[in-house]
Every structure is written in structure tokens, then in C-alpha cells.
């Protein structure tokens, strides 16, 4: 096999891995953000984000 094959194979593999990791991280982030939004929509909010006048519910 030619040397070029090894060069392109390694660059190709490097591209594959970096893109896969990047895509996975990004997709994970999107999924998490969507889950947070869903929780927000369901009315569960973080304490720090809760408006001051609302009475703590059971804590």
C-alpha cells in the first residue's frame, strides 16, 4: 500500500473521532437543554430563579 493511504487513513480517522466526539457533546447538551426546558414548562423551577413573593412549598 502507498504511503498516501496511511496518511489519509490517519487524517480520516482523526476527523472521524474529533467530529464524533464534538457531535456527541453537542447533542448531549441539546438533549439536556431540552429536558431543562421541559421541566421548566412543567412548573418546576430552581429555587434561585423562583420569584421572591412565592411562598416556599413545603420546604
Amino acid at each position: 500500500m502507498t504511503h498516501a493511504f496511511y496518511v489519509y487513513a490517519s487524517y480520516g480517522f482523526a476527523a472521524l473521532v474529533t467530529i464524533a466526539v464534538t457531535a456527541w457533546t453537542w447533542a448531549d447538551g441539546r438533549a439536556r437543554r431540552r429536558e431543562l426546558a421541559a421541566l421548566e414548562a412543567a412548573g418546576i423551577r430552581r429555587r434561585s430563579a423562583r420569584p421572591k413573593d412565592s411562598v416556599g412549598d413545603g420546604e
Binding site: R46, R47, S48, G58, E59
Partner: protein
């Protein structure tokens, strides 16, 4: 000599099991923890013994000799739900091991024979621990408290699986320890029949805490 807890809080998973528990026990005093199943009695005892890190607050033991406080775990016996005995070894071997391993601090402890005698089982020290009945195992685990001296006893349901006569026997042993100036913390569902014991009723579930992530 006294044991002081201040503003203790402990967490299991995400739940705070209790908050703001304080007590002060001087020599000869006992604290009995009661409460329904899962209310946090064992958790509190493990925090006092230093086996669980409290979420907040401190427990300190002040001895007679030294001025600074000590870690209560080091001066305590802990009798948990599990007996801390190897079922492959005989009763005598088990007790002998703990006697040597725990070492002797302060006043002279009982010998292995005397200790098994005190819990009413002197006849069966040659049997492997695993052969004993549930109640006999519990009694031997209690005998462990007698073979090495510790000023503080932390007892988690000491009388589980015991018959009525052993109940009384244990109560007497605990009273003797208190009279000699010891401190006892016990969690229990059945009245131990201790005189002048403080009582602390655990309620369980002191709130959800989402921690820093929420």
C-alpha cells in the same frame, strides 16, 4: 466527661434526614432515640460514631484528662444492626480478636469468659459464631462491649431478636455502665427500661435539598 452534638444535619441521597439536632450528655447520662422505621435513628448514630459525615454541625467528646475535644468515634463502642463477627471463627476467637484489636483504654475490661458469662452464654464459646441462633449472636455481639473499655456506647436496637430475660440482662448491663460514669446512646423500638434517660424522638425526612445543582 461529656458528649456534645450541635446543630447536626445529615443527608441520605438527596433527602435531608434530620436537621438541627443538638444534645448534651454528661457522664452517667443516656439518650434514647425513638421514632418510626426510617426516621433516621441509625443515621444519627452513625453520624455520632463518625461513620457518616454530617451535612452540618459537629459532635465532640470531652474526656477528663485532656482539655481539647476528641473524635467521639475513638472513644465509643458501636453496636450496629450487623454483629461484626466472623461466622467461620468460634465465639472465643471472635471475642479474643476484638479484645486485642480494640485494646484497652482506661479501666480494666472483662475477660472473654467473664463477658460471655455476663450475657449468659458461657457454655458455648467453642461453637463457630455462625452456628448460634439469632438471639445468641446478638448477645455475643453485646459481649464485645464488655471485653474492651470505652466510655461511650452507641447501640442500634441492641435488643432486637432477644428474649425477655436477655432484655432485662442487657438493661442491667447498660445501667451498670451508666453508673460507672459511662455515656449511652441507644436507638430502640422497645422500651429499654433505663432510668433518667433523655429521649429524642426522630421524625424523619426534614426536607428535600437539591444542593448546589438545583
Amino acid at each position: 466527661m461529656h458528649l456534645t452534638a450541635e446543630n447536626l444535619a445529615a443527608r441520605r441521597g438527596e433527602d435531608l434526614i434530620f436537621v438541627n439536632i443538638s444534645f448534651h450528655l454528661a457522664a452517667g447520662e443516656a439518650l434514647v432515640l425513638t421514632g418510626i422505621n426510617g426516621s433516621g435513628k441509625s443515621t444519627l448514630l452513625r453520624v455520632v460514631a463518625g461513620l457518616l459525615r454530617p451535612e452540618k454541625g459537629t459532635v465532640i467528646f470531652h474526656g477528663e484528662e485532656s482539655l481539647g475535644g476528641r473524635d467521639p468515634g475513638e472513644v465509643s463502642h458501636y453496636l450496629g444492626h450487623r454483629n461484626a463477627m466472623k461466622s467461620e471463627l468460634t465465639v472465643a476467637e471472635n471475642l479474643d480478636f476484638w479484645r486485642t484489636f480494640l485494646g484497652n483504654t482506661g479501666s480494666a475490661p472483662l475477660s472473654v469468659e467473664d463477658a460471655t458469662d455476663a450475657v449468659g452464654l458461657s457454655g458455648i464459646t467453642h461453637l463457630p459464631f455462625g452456628y448460634l441462633s439469632a438471639g445468641q449472636q446478638r448477645r455475643i455481639a453485646f459481649a464485645k462491649l464488655l471485653v474492651a473499655h470505652r466510655p461511650v456506647w452507641i447501640l442500634d436496637e441492641p435488643t432486637a431478636a432477644l428474649d425477655a430475660s436477655a432484655d432485662r440482662l442487657f438493661a442491667d448491663l447498660i445501667m451498670t455502665h451508666l453508673e460507672k460514669g459511662g455515656i449511652v446512646l441507644a436507638a430502640t423500638h422497645q422500651p429499654l427500661g433505663l432510668r433518667n434517660a433523655q429521649e429524642l424522638k426522630m421524625t424523619g425526612f426534614a426536607g428535600v435539598d437539591s444542593g448546589i445543582w438545583g
